[in-house]
Symmetry: C2
Subunit: 312 residues, 2 copies
């Protein structure tokens, strides 16, 4: 499998990479998330995006992400935890034998939090591939990882297998509050990211509780009483939701249980840096791996390995 | 002051009542919240709604709610906690001497939750009046009260004075999640309120943590895996947010510190019943007072008293 096309096809974007003899030869990105593709239109959308790469005989294409969901190209049934590269590889959904496959997502069960309550399932699609890729890049087989985003995932890996994970709607809560809540009218235009002090104030506030339902309102009152510059409000609110995620996740279990190794943050640089700063404020060391984790994971599943030295 | 008009003028609604010789003679409600009134238009909106009541010489009108906010008729500066009927009466904002006044809102300061963090202000407008009215109706001078709503308020009253309170954006979070989040597309049309079992499951799930950012996602996965009937999803989600409010508020301080008296729930019957059920699931007794609390509070501020026997 010397020529490989790796595709990360999510809800709102489509990214692909061409690997020749283990070398990343080219990358492409399109605003063609699965929600923009009509049912039955996935084959032609894939052809349009990567047809030239795939034209060379013997090329294999592996895809991960929401492309394998019920709303995607074809539903790839979830693989149950614990699962690592071996289980995922065995459960690839081949659309064309030896040529085009979708990586299944993962599911796990959260134990009942009290007597009489049911187990609650959790799911991921795409992150499983980034997780095994990130650990491959780091040369690790164990760890606690966080993949920040619209729906952040925290995953525990032991001996190369993802044993459990949980979903946190942090990015979506931020967007809901910033765009649709009473706080929206107080927030200036523009994204969070400019005011580190406001972000840190938000994180510290959230880390000490008592919870986002209450703390979110402080975005309004601090502005009403002129105690926080309006320009810092998006960063303060971003710090509140990220800090809330950390506080609640840390309360679930000891993040140091993996032998004290740094938490692995997998994601785009700007957001990863915010999580790294927030984790530091909670006294927790971390290391970052970027978007190349998806390519490393897909290459691993295709039977290729990527040298650990490409980690940043 | 034998003839009194009491007005509760909020963001989205306008309600009024006429009291003659201490008897509730008439009530009216309009979809004329302050957001629907143009600047400068409050006097005529008030005339339209209650002009006939006010035409009798000697009639006094007291108004509470967002009508006293910066976006309302005229800003009534916040009164600082601790404050009871005496302080509120002294700070009435008279728009027409002896005839028309706005009750000021309250502000309080939350102590820093950790060293290096600032005090955070909190505010209410309208609830202060309902609180003193509810306690008057119950014949109490002390208590812990919750006023459920878009922004729920929890208030501690000692010797007739509101000493502290906190705001919880519970109703707004529910609306954001139900209308604008990824969960919205899974929820059937219609309001929460039909499925008590789903509501209780949501409350119990939230009471055991680990936090709404994670628990909210279970609304999606329980539906994805056909473990919860779609018709019950709004109630489940409602239970999650109300349970989260209770869990976090209970963690802040011992709700029994007021001598074990039942928590007082002030609000419309349907929502009050949900809070009463949720509190019971948390092992906490409560008693309910309805919308008449606002009239009792305004009458108290006007120097009239309402017999305690009108409590439900």
């Amino acid at each position: 499998m010397a020529r490989l096309v790796t595709v990360d096809w999510g809800t709102s974007s489509l990214r692909g990479a061409l690997h020749e003899d283990g070398i990343l030869a080219a990358e492409r990105a399109f605003a063609r998330g699965i929600l923009s593709v009509a049912p039955g239109g996935f084959q032609s959308a894939c052809e349009e995006a990567f047809g030239d790469w795939m034209a060379v005989p013997g090329t294999v294409c592996l895809m991960s992400g929401m492309v394998g969901s019920r709303q995607g190209w074809q539903e790839a049934p979830y693989c149950a935890c614990p699962a690592g590269a071996e289980q995922l590889r065995a459960r690839l959904l081949w659309l064309e034998p030896q040529r085009l496959a979708i990586v299944p997502g993962l599911c796990c069960e959260h134990a009942p939090s009290a007597a009489g309550l049911p187990q609650v399932p959790d799911v991921m699609r795409g992150e499983e591939t980034q997780i095994i890729g990130a650990l491959q890049l780091l040369g690790r087989e164990d760890g606690l990882l966080v993949l920040p985003g619209t729906h952040s995932k925290w995953a525990r890996v032991q001996a190369g297998a993802i044993v459990s994970f949980s979903t946190w709607m942090t990015g979506e809560f931020y967007a809901l509050l910033a765009q649709h809540s009473i706080l929206a009218r107080m927030l200036p235009d523009g994204q969070a990211g400019a005011d580190d002090a406001a972000f840190e104030l938000g994180v510290k506030t959230a880390l000490t509780g008592p919870g986002l339902l209450h703390a979110a309102f402080s975005t309004r009152t601090l502005a009403l009483f002129d105690r926080l510059d309006p320009g810092g409000l998006p960063d303060y609110l971003s710090g509140l939701v990220i800090g809330e995620e950390l506080r609640c996740r840390l309360a679930m279990s000891n993040v140091e249980e993996a032998g004290g190794a740094p938490v692995v943050i997998v994601g785009a640089a700007a957001l990863a840096r915010r999580y790294q700063r927030a984790l530091a404020l909670a006294g927790i060391a971390s290391t970052c791996v970027g978007a190349e984790a998806a390519w490393a994971g897909l290459a691993l599943l295709a039977g290729l390995s990527v040298p650990a030295s490409t980690a940043n």
